[in-house]
Every structure is written in structure tokens, then in C-alpha cells.
């Protein structure tokens, strides 16, 4: 057992995979000597060399596009997008290319690449409009892409290793606020966390709150707060957003008969919309109340000024308030 931070787990997962499989390479901006702006590849350059730890030119379409080509010729690339907000110039390479290589070639070619992207905002992040976006809904809508966003340190390591070994493109989202916020004991022996299954983080009976990434932290705290008032919230960590574990979602709703979704992304067409739609479509008979959403405002990402950033984010207060409303319904 070693006590790791989320960031350490990310780094260790890549490190172990690079040691294990020489086909694995990392590429991105500043991943080399600097070890990444968050330090996720710290020390890799010295150990694995410039060819496998590649500082790319400042061009995201290049990062993803060349990774596709590298993967076609026997490498297993881990592409780092410095901030999720900057994946947009690569949108065409991700959506039109990486996600479709297998389908369009009728299975003849594959695209085993992992795209890592630190995302998310909050007052502490001070990221402003372009260093705080949540991009999961935009990409979870894309067939052929897998989208993963771990919350625990254990999952961060196990899911990233699964992503690297996955034969298909995986967008691996790491919430910046989790990097240094939490420490956990993680087994020294190798383990994998499968892409797909969701996890119940807190069993409950009154209602189910679905969340992922940083918002689980706020949601769990809100659940504790209302527990004192006799509201017993089940909190589900979606973890893998695509392919989505609808079975666990529907199972939990059938049990509690009430559901809410918490997400930091803009509310309109954010990921919670799909979760709500699935519930309204497949668990309507079990529902005893509306499917509520607590989400970021519909303004372009998180403003920089603390006062505005705070107004943007879903807070423990807002989440707890919604839990009370739903419980009372």
C-alpha cells in the first residue's frame, strides 16, 4: 500500500504502462523536460527518452492526428491535451478521425489511443473561460469514443491503465481540482479498473444522486448534510460516461424511485440531460418525482473573478437544497 494523490496515480499508471510495453509513448505540449504543466509525466523524459516522451509543436490537431498515425503503425500513444479547453482545435481529428477509424474501415483498422485532458473549474482553479471547461458531454455524444472520468485515486490509476490498453480511443478526463486534493492508499500490486461499470459511493434509500469527477465531492458532502435531516441519499459515481452503465443507473432509480444529476458543465445538453432522458424513458414507472439537475450555468465556461466563478458552480448548498426538494416531493 502506498499513499498517493490523484496526480501521482495518473503518473504511476502511465509510468507502469511505459515500463511494461515499449510501444507506449506519450506526446503533448511540455510533457518532456518539464514533465507536463501539472507534472503528470515528471521524470519520464529522463527515463524513457525524447522519442517516447515527445514534446510536440503547439498544435492539438497535430497531437491527435499524429497519434492516430502512430497507432496505425504499432505504437500505443498517450496524448496529453494541456487543458481540456484546448482540445477544440483537435475536434475534427478526434471526432471525424479517431472515433471513426474502426467503423469506417469495417473493423480493418483500429485506433488504440488515449487522450488525457485536465478539465474543470472552480474558484480555486482561477482558470477563467479557457482553463476550466467541462467537455465530457460534447465528446460523449460521439459514437466510437469512450469517455472516462475517475473520481477516486484508486480509479484514476486503474482506469487509466485500462484506457491505455483499450483497443479503441479513450478520452480520459482528469478534474484539475482532484489532482492534489485527495490522498488514498493504493495497492502496490498491479490492478485494473474496467471501463464501463459505475460505482455506488454511498448507498441510500430516499433518492439517488448521480455525479462524476469533482462533483462527487460536493454531492457526497451534501448527502452527509441532509442525512442528518433523515434524507438518505444514494450517490452513484458514473466514472465511465461512454459506454454508460445504464443498468446500475436504472437499478438505483428503481430502488430509490427518485433521481437527480449533478454536473459542473453547462446545464443545457450537459451530460445530465442524457442520464435524465434515460431515466424518464426507461424507469418512468418507478419514478416518484421529477428528475432534477444541478449544473453549471449556461454561460461560456467559468468566469475568472472569484465572485463570478462562485456564482457559476454547483455548490454543496445548491445540491443539498435540491436533495431536500426532491425528498419532499
Amino acid at each position: 500500500m502506498a499513499e498517493l494523490r490523484y496526480l501521482d496515480a495518473i503518473r504511476l499508471a502511465m509510468y507502469e504502462e511505459m515500463r511494461r510495453d515499449e510501444r507506449v509513448v506519450v506526446l503533448g505540449e511540455d510533457v518532456g523536460i518539464k514533465g507536463g504543466v501539472f507534472g503528470a509525466t515528471d521524470g519520464f523524459y529522463a527515463e524513457f527518452g525524447e522519442a517516447r516522451v515527445l514534446d510536440t509543436p503547439l498544435a492539438e490537431s497535430l497531437i491527435v492526428g499524429t497519434a492516430i498515425g502512430m497507432a496505425a503503425n504499432g505504437l500505443v500513444p498517450i496524448a496529453e491535451i494541456q487543458f481540456a479547453d484546448f482540445i477544440h482545435p483537435a475536434f475534427n481529428q478526434v471526432v471525424s478521425e479517431a472515433a471513426r477509424i474502426r467503423y469506417r474501415s469495417n473493423g480493418a483498422f483500429g485506433c488504440p489511443i488515449t487522450i488525457r485532458a485536465p478539465y474543470g473549474g472552480g474558484v480555486e482553479v482561477h482558470g477563467g473561460l479557457y482553463h476550466s471547461q467541462s467537455i465530457e458531454a460534447t465528446f460523449a455524444h460521439v459514437p466510437g469514443l469512450k469517455v472516462v472520468t475517475p473520481y477516486t485515486v484508486y480509479d484514476a490509476k486503474g482506469l487509466l491503465k485500462s484506457a491505455i490498453r483499450d483497443p479503441d480511443p479513450v478520452l480520459f478526463l482528469e478534474h484539475k481540482r482532484l489532482y492534489r486534493a485527495i490522498r488514498e492508499d493504493v495497492p502496490d500490486d498491479e490492478y485494473l479498473v474496467p471501463i464501463g461499470p459505475a460505482a455506488v459511493r454511498r448507498p441510500g434509500s430516499t433518492l439517488t444522486a448521480f455525479a462524476y469527477g469533482q462533483m462527487l465531492h460536493e454531492t457526497l458532502r451534501a448527502a452527509e448534510r441532509v442525512a442528518a435531516e433523515g434524507i438518505d441519499v444514494e450517490v452513484v459515481d458514473l466514472r465511465t460516461l461512454k459506454p454508460l452503465d445504464t443498468e446500475t443507473i436504472l437499478g438505483s432509480v428503481r430502488k430509490t424511485s427518485k433521481a437527480m444529476i449533478v454536473y459542473e458543465d453547462n446545464r443545457f445538453l450537459g451530460f445530465g440531460a442524457e442520464v435524465a432522458a434515460i431515466i424518464a424513458e426507461e424507469a418512468f414507472d418507478a419514478l416518484d418525482g421529477p428528475v432534477l439537475r444541478v449544473a453549471g450555468l449556461d454561460v461560456p465556461a467559468v468566469p475568472y473573478a472569484d465572485t463570478l466563478a462562485a456564482a457559476f458552480m454547483p455548490t454543496v448548498d445548491r445540491i443539498a437544497e435540491t436533495m431536500r426538494r426532491l425528498a419532499a416531493y
Binding site: T56, G69, N73, Y103, G107, A108
Partner: protein, 338 residues
């Protein structure tokens, strides 16, 4: 005069180390590509297939450059006009016709993509998409892997001149230059991007001059001169294998048809310009060369074209007779199926 010409010409292909057999095989591929291409348009006009986009006028550039690579070992990252290049790389007339008819056993996409979106795993032809210029980044990625893994492979990719205006083209050129990658970056400049003339596409007459800005040579060749394209290809392959880095080869070619079966080029191309294109038909130019060189006589010509006619007819009949994709397979291969 003819005699003199002949001597000069002979000197040319001999100097390039090409014997009669090579020349006839090259001619065969040019003529085969053209015959398949023309048949495709006939089939489309007859209403047997909904759409065609092809490479008439580009065959000389493609056969010439592709002749310089190792067809087994090297890679092709094509674009939609790469019909002739795909043939040289190993795809058969049947393979191409299966794509035109979008049949279940189309090796490129199983009928999932429009015609001319080439791919063939066994022949190292990477899968083509519609958004232009993306393939340039894939090609340099394949080349980076080849260099890192020390496979000795060379990668050939190609693109139209209009598509060089895309950001991806610049990003790929830059990456190729930084890492001195074993890649041949072709530009097939046919002076039009659908209707847009080069005048509105770029502020310079030749795309090739841009290569210097990335740290490697860019050369301009007459795409109707198959031997000149071959020569350029040989030098580019030499550089690549010697770890001297990439080469941009801009082939000035002619678009002998409308952009695609959806386009009516008369609206934006003066008749004189369309006729000018015909006068630079690589198939005609190469045929003249072979005749002057005494390589192609009546008998051989008849024999080659009879063979081609048979192959094209066989490919058409075969492909047409194949089943369409089974609707129940529509959701397959979104992800790996193990």
C-alpha cells in the same frame, strides 16, 4: 527528328534504370486506372451507382511516384483521387469496383463510406475519410512510428492543392520537418478546388515553395511526365531511407473530369481551359513516349488493352453480383469486437 527524339527518350528511362518491362507495366497501370475510372463514370451515368469521384488526369503522377517505393514494405496514406496509386499498391480492379458498388465485401469500408474512400489493411493503405488534409497528419504519425521502431518503412501521402490551405497540412509539414521523417508528401495540383482556382486558394503559384519554410526540399514536376515523377519519387525515397527526411513533390496535373458526378464544371471552367487539360493527358503523353521509344507497338498495345478491358468487365460484373451490406451489421465495429 523522330530518331533524335527517340534517342533522347531512351536515354531518359534507361538512365532511370527502367527497362522495357518496367515501362510496359507502368503503362498498364496508367491505362488500367483510366479504364476503371471511365467505367465508373459510365456506371454512374447509367444510374447503376449514385456517385463517383475519381482521378482522371492524376494517373501519371501517382504511378510515377509510387513506382519508386517498395510496394510491400512501404505505406500509402491516400486521398480520394488516389485510384491509380491504390492499384500500384496492390488493390485489384475488383477491390475498387466493390467500393463503387458499396458491397458488403468492399475491402475499404464494407460499403460504409462513399466510393474512393480507399483503405486496405493487407496492402498498408490507411483508411481515407472525407474531411480533407487530415491524412497528412496520419501520414507523418505513421512515419514517426516507422522511425522510432526502426522499420525502415517509407510513407507516401497525397493531397490536392486546395486542401493544403487547411491547418492540418501546415501542422503535418512542420512535424515532418522537425523530426526529419521518412515521408513523401505529394501535392497533386490540378489548379482547381472544385470551382475555386489557385488564384483564390494561395498567394503563390507553387505550393512547393513552402517546403523550404519547414526545412526540407519541395520540388515541382510535370504530372503528365511519368518518368519525371518517377525520378522525383526515387530521390525522395532515397532521402527517406537515408534518414535525410521528407520531400514535398508537387505534381502539376490536370483534372480531366468535373470534380465529381455532382459537379458541372462548364459553369466555372472556360472550354479552352478544359481542352488545355486534355492536351496534357498523362496517358496520351506516356503512350507517345513509349511509341517513340519503340517500346509500345501495335501488338503490345492491343494485348494490354484487351487484358484491361477483360479485367474491368470482370471487376464490374463481379462487384455488381456481390451482396449489399446486411442491415443487421450496421452497428458493428463501433468498438473493437475481439
Amino acid at each position: 527528328m523522330a530518331v533524335h527524339k527517340t534517342r533522347v527518350h531512351l536515354a531518359r528511362h534507361e538512365a532511370l534504370g527502367l527497362d522495357t518491362g518496367d515501362l510496359l507495366e507502368m503503362y498498364y497501370y496508367l491505362a488500367l486506372a483510366r479504364a476503371i475510372d471511365e467505367r465508373m463514370w459510365v456506371l454512374q451515368r447509367a444510374g447503376l451507382v449514385p456517385f463517383v469521384i475519381s482521378g482522371q488526369g492524376h494517373e501519371g503522377a501517382q504511378v510515377g511516384v509510387m513506382w519508386a517505393i517498395d510496394r510491400e514494405r512501404d505505406w500509402l496514406v491516400p486521398f480520394y483521387r488516389s485510384l491509380a496509386a491504390c492499384l500500384v499498391k496492390g488493390m485489384t480492379p475488383r477491390d475498387l469496383m466493390l467500393g463503387l458498388f458499396s458491397r458488403a465485401n468492399d475491402p475499404s469500408s464494407g460499403g460504409r463510406q462513399m466510393p474512393a474512400h480507399w483503405a486496405h489493411n493487407a496492402h498498408k493503405i490507411f483508411t481515407t475519410s472525407s474531411p480533407v488534409a487530415t491524412q497528412y497528419l496520419h501520414a507523418v504519425g505513421v512515419a514517426y512510428a516507422a522511425k522510432l521502431r526502426g522499420t525502415g518503412e517509407v510513407v507516401v501521402t497525397s493531397i490536392g492543392e486546395g486542401s493544403t490551405s487547411q491547418g492540418d497540412w501546415h501542422e503535418a509539414m512542420n512535424f515532418a520537418g522537425i523530426h526529419r521523417l521518412p515521408v513523401i508528401l505529394m501535392v497533386e495540383n490540378n489548379r482547381y478546388a472544385i470551382s475555386v482556382p489557385t488564384r483564390l486558394q494561395m498567394g503563390v503559384p507553387d505550393v512547393a515553395v513552402r517546403a523550404e519554410g519547414y526545412g526540407f526540399p519541395g520540388i515541382v514536376v510535370d504530372g503528365s511526365d511519368v518518368l519525371a515523377c518517377y525520378e522525383a519519387g526515387c530521390e525522395a525515397v532515397r532521402r527517406a531511407r537515408a534518414d535525410e527526411g521528407p520531400t514535398l513533390i508537387e505534381c502539376k496535373v490536370e483534372r480531366l473530369t468535373a470534380h465529381s458526378s455532382e459537379d458541372r464544371q462548364e459553369k466555372y471552367r472556360p472550354t479552352s481551359d478544359i481542352e488545355a487539360s486534355r492536351s496534357k493527358d498523362p496517358l496520351v503523353v506516356f503512350k507517345h513516349y513509349l511509341e517513340h521509344a519503340g517500346v509500345l507497338d501495335e501488338a503490345r498495345y492491343t494485348e494490354i488493352h484487351a487484358r484491361i478491358r477483360a479485367e474491368v468487365t470482370d471487376a464490374t460484373d463481379y462487384a455488381e453480383a456481390q451482396p449489399m451490406p446486411d442491415p443487421s451489421t450496421v452497428a458493428r465495429h463501433v468498438f473493437f469486437e475481439g
